[in-house]
Amino acid sequence: MSEISINPGTLPAGPDIKPKLSRDDILMRGSMIVIALYLVATLVLPLYTMLSKSFSTYRMELSQYEFQVSDDAGQFDGTILSGDALNEQIGAFSGTELSTGSDGRLSVTELFPDFSFRSPVMYQIRNTSDTGRFLVGSTLQDDTDWVMLDSNEFRRVQLRPVQSRGLDNFVNYFSTPALFNSIKNSLWISVLSTIVTVTLAFWFAYALNRSCMRFKGVFRLIAMAPILVPSLLPGIALVYLFGNQGMIKELLFGASIYGPIGIVIGSVFFTFPHAFLIISTALAISDARLYEAAASLRSTPWRTFWTVTIPGARYGLISAAFVVFNLVITDFGLPKVIGGQFNVLAVDIYKQVIGQQNFEMGAVVSVVLVIPAILAFAIDRMVQSKQVALLSARSVPYQPTPNRKADRIFLAYCCLIGLFIVGLLAVCQFAALIKFWPYDLSLSLKNYDFNKMDGGGWGSYINSIKLALLTAVIGTSVVFFGAYLVEKSNGFRTGRSIFQMFAMLPMAIPGMVLGLSYIFFFNSPSNPLNGIYGTMAILVICTVTHFYTVSHLTAVTALKQMDREFESVSSSLKQPTMKLFARVTVPVCLPAVLDISIYLFVNAMTTVSAVVFLYSPKTTLASIAVLNMDDAGDIAPAAAMGMMIFYTNAAARIIHLIASKGILKRTQAWRGR
C-alpha cells in the first residue's frame, strides 16, 4: 500500500481518507496484541501484584476484642472492656508495636497490668467481628462467642493481626538496620566489581583488537566460557581455592574469602564475558585516520590513547559498566554461596521469603532492588541512543601494527586472565572428582551420585535440558514473531511503541523480583492461570520473559537490515504476509534466529534467580540443584553438577556452530555475491 500525499494548497479539502485495513493488517495487529497481552500477563500484572503486596500490612486491631474480668471469687459483674480502651488506659503498646507481619502474635496479658497466672481471677474474651482472630495456645478462635478462661489459660492467649494496607512495611524496612544496610552493601560491591571488571575487560579487548599478539582466537573462546556456567559456580571454586582448607589460601594473607572479597572476585568472573563483548565491539570499530592525524601531530601514544582510543570507545565502556553493575546487583547465587555474613539485597529477598515466609517484606526488598536496576538500565539505554555511527563511508579501518614488546606484554596479560577463568573452572572439575576433600584425595565418581543428595538428583539435570529446549523453541518463536510484527507492520504507531516498551522492560527487572511476583500472581486461587503454578510451563514462561529483551533486540537488529520493500513487493503480488514471513524473512534472518535460540538455551540452563521461587518437586532444575546442594553442605556434588551444566552448554554451542554452518550455507548463499 503506497501512501498518498495531499498538498492542501493545491487541492480542495476532500473527505478524510482512512486507509482500509487489509486482512493481513488485521492479522498482524491481532497477533501483535496477542503477544503484547502475553507480556502483560507474564510481566506487567505480576509486577503490579507484587507492588500492591508490598503495601499489604498486618496490624493488631485491638478494637476487635472484648474482655470481661471476674473478681477473686470468679464472678463476672458484666462490665465489658474493649481492647482499644484498655490499651489507651495503660499504654501497653505503641502504634508501631501493633504493626506486624502475617505471622505476628501479641500476648494479651500485657493489657492487664494486674495479671498473674496464679490468681483465681477468670477472664472472658471474644472477637467483636468476623475478621477478629485469636489463639488459645495453638487453637484458633475466629467466631464471636465468649470464651471463658482461667488465669493460667488466659496467659496462653495470643492475638492475631488483620490485613490492612499502608506504608508500614517500608517504615519497618528502613527502621531495621540489618535490612537497609544491605542497600549500601549491594551498591558498594556492585560499584567495585564494575570498576574491576570493566578495567580488566577493556585491556583484554584492547589486546585482542589493537595488538598483533598470537592466539587471539583461543583467548576469545576462553573469555566467553563464564557465560556457560551459573553465577554461583565461581563461588564454589573460590571456596576450594581460598576457604579455610583452600589450596592457595595463603594468598589472601588471612583475610576471609566469605564476604565482599569472594563476591567481587566471583562477580568479575561471571560478568567478564558481558563486559568484554560490549567493549570489544566498541574497540573493533575505529577510524585509522584519527590515529594517523595524532601521529602526524606528534602526539605521544599515551596522549593518543586518552584523546582518540578512549573517546572512541566511551559508549561501549559506559554501556559495559551499567550492564555489569546491573548483573552484579541483581545476582543472587554468588553472594548466597560465598557472601558469608555480608548481606545483599537479592539474598535478603530469598531469606525473607524462604526463611521467614514473610512475603510482604520480600516484596518490599524487591521494590528497593528494582530502583537501582531500573536506573542503571535507563541510563544505559540513554547512552546507547546517543551513540552515533563512528564508521562513516570514508573511514579507514584501523589495522594494528606489530610491536614485539607491547605484544608480549599483552600476551602475558591475556594469559593471566585466561588462567583466572580456566583455573576457576578446572578447580571445580577437580573438586568434583575428589572423594572427600581434604581428608581423602583419591579420585572417585561418588559426587556424581546426585540421586543420593538433596536437590532433585539426575532428574533435575534432565528437567533443565527440557526447560532449555522448550525455552529455546517457544521463546525464539514468540520473540522473533513479535519483533517481526513490531518492525514490519504498517501504521498503528502507538500500539507498536507500547509493545516496544513492554519488550524492553524485562531487562530492567531482576530475576528474583520476577520470580517472586510470579508467586503472588499465579499462586492466587482467583487467578484463572493458577493451574500452571508448579509446572514446567511456568518455568518456561518465566525464563522466556526474563530473557526477552536481549532476544528481542537481536531480532529487531536483524530485521532492520531487511528492506521494507519486501513487504511492499509481497503485498503487490497479493501474497499473504505470513507466507512472506515463512518463506523469506525467517530464512534470511536465520543467523539471528539461531543466535536467539542458543542465547535462550544457555541462559535457561544457568538461570537461578528467577526460577528459585517457582520450581516444584517435580520440576527441580540443575542450576537450583547446585544451589541446594551447596546450601546443604554438599559442595563437591554442587561443583560436579555445575560442571555438567558447563559441558552441556559447551556441547550445545558446538552443535549450534555446526548446525548454523550447515544451514547458513544453504540459506545465506545469496550473501556471498
Binding site: T139, A178, G340, G355, P617
Partner: protein, 339 residues
C-alpha cells in the same frame, strides 16, 4: 513452526498417557523427610494399604512450611507426613489441620502427641541438636573440646564456630529457642551475645555447619546429631558432642490437612504412621522415636542424647517465633559486616 506444533503435541500426548492410572486413591503428601527415605516409607505403607498411592511433595522444612501457608486458602495437600512440630503448630493456629486421633495413638509417648483431644498432629521421631567437632582441625588450631554450651563462648573458639541462621533454618531456630528456654529470656540473649563473638558465620541450612566441620572448613559446627552421625559414617574425623546443659530438639510429625477430599484414605495413612512398624522404620535414621521401647541405638549416635533432650515447649516456640526471629535479626544480622 510446524516443528513446534508437533513437539507440543508430542508433549501433550506424553503427559496424558502418564496420568492414566489405576482406580486407586491418590494422596498428596507434603514432607520434609530426607529424599532417600521416602521410597522406603511409601513401600512399607503400601504393604498394608496397597490401594492408596502416595504422591510425595518434598522440600526442606522452611520451604514446605512456606508452601503450606501460601496455600492457606486453597490447600493442595491431603496429609503432611514428616514436618517439624513447630511448623505444624503454625498451621494449627491458622486452622489448617483436621484433628484426628489415629487408632493406637494411646501407645505413643505423650510428649509426641498434640495436647488437644482429638490431637491435631502426632509425632514420629525427634531430631536433636548437637555439636559437630572436627578433631583433626581442632588439634591443628590447638583447641580443647567443649563440653557445654557455655564452653563455646570461651575466647579460645573465636571464629571457630559456625551455626545455622534461625531466620532460614529450622535447626537454627530450635537452638535459639532451646537456649531461651534453658537460660531464661535474658540469660539466653546474653549467652547468644557472647556466642556471637565466636561465630565465624551463620549458614542458611541446618545441616551445613556439620558438613563444613566434617570437611574441615571449620572446627566446630552447631548442627543436629543425625547429620553428624551420617558424616561420621562417611569417614569424617568428627566427634559429636552433647552439651551438658541439655539440647534443643524438634520432632517430625504427621497431620491431616483440613478440607481434604480423601479424608478416609488420609486417616488410614495417619493410622499407619503411629504403628510400631512405622516407628521401627523411622528408627533407621532417628535414634528417638515416638513409640516407647522401639528405638534401637543408631550407629555413631552420641551417648546420653535422650537424657539431654530438654523439656521443649513447642507452644512457646511457635507463638514467640516471629518475635524471637525479629530480635535475633536486629542483634546479630545487623552487625554482620565483613570482619
Amino acid at each position: 513452526m510446524r516443528h513446534t506444533t508437533s513437539l507440543l503435541t508430542a508433549l501433550a500426548v506424553g503427559t496424558l498417557t502418564a496420568t492414566v492410572a489405576a482406580s486407586e486413591t491418590e494422596l498428596t503428601v507434603y514432607t520434609a523427610v530426607e529424599a532417600e527415605d521416602l521410597a522406603r516409607y511409601a513401600e512399607t505403607f503400601n504393604q498394608s494399604n496397597p490401594d492408596i498411592k502416595i504422591n510425595w511433595v518434598r522440600d526442606s522444612t522452611g520451604i514446605i512450611t512456606a508452601k503450606l501457608l501460601a496455600e492457606r486458602d486453597n490447600p493442595q495437600a491431603d496429609v503432611v507426613w514428616g514436618l517439624a512440630a513447630t511448623s505444624l503448630l503454625l498451621l494449627k493456629s491458622e486452622g489448617m489441620l483436621e484433628p484426628y486421633a489415629p487408632a493406637g495413638v494411646e501407645e505413643l509417648d505423650v510428649k509426641f502427641v498434640d495436647g488437644d483431644n482429638p490431637p491435631a498432629w502426632v509425632g514420629m521421631d525427634a531430631w536433636v541438636a548437637s555439636v559437630c567437632y572436627n578433631t583433626v582441625e581442632a588439634d591443628k588450631a590447638g583447641l580443647t573440646p567443649p563440653t557445654s554450651w557455655k564452653d563455646l563462648t570461651d575466647p579460645m573458639y573465636k571464629d571457630q564456630v559456625i551455626m545455622p541462621n534461625p531466620n532460614s533454618s529450622g535447626t537454627g531456630f530450635l537452638d535459639v529457642s532451646s537456649w531461651l528456654q534453658m537460660f531464661g529470656e535474658d540469660g539466653g540473649w546474653e549467652y547468644m551475645d557472647a556466642l556471637h563473638e565466636n561465630i565465624a558465620r551463620y549458614t542458611h541450612s541446618g545441616s551445613k555447619p556439620c558438613k563444613l566441620a566434617a570437611a574441615g572448613e571449620i572446627p566446630i559446627g552447631i548442627s543436629f546429631a543425625f547429620r553428624g552421625a551420617k558424616s561420621k559414617a562417611d569417614g569424617a574425623p568428627l566427634e559429636i558432642i552433647v552439651p551438658s546443659e541439655g539440647v534443643g530438639w524438634d520432632m517430625e510429625a504427621t497431620a491431616i490437612v483440613a478440607g481434604t477430599a480423601n479424608l478416609e484414605a488420609a486417616q488410614k495413612l495417619v493410622d499407619f504412621t503411629v504403628t510400631k512398624e512405622a516407628n521401627e522404620m523411622y528408627n533407621t535414621g532417628y535414634a528417638v522415636v515416638a513409640y516407647p521401647g522401639v528405638a534401637k541405638p543408631v550407629e555413631h549416635f552420641p551417648e546420653g542424647l535422650l537424657d539431654a533432650m530438654i523439656e521443649n515447649d513447642f507452644e512457646f516456640a511457635a507463638n514467640n517465633r516471629a518475635a524471637i526471629l525479629k530480635e535475633w535479626q536486629s542483634r546479630y544480622d545487623g552487625k554482620s559486616e565483613a570482619k
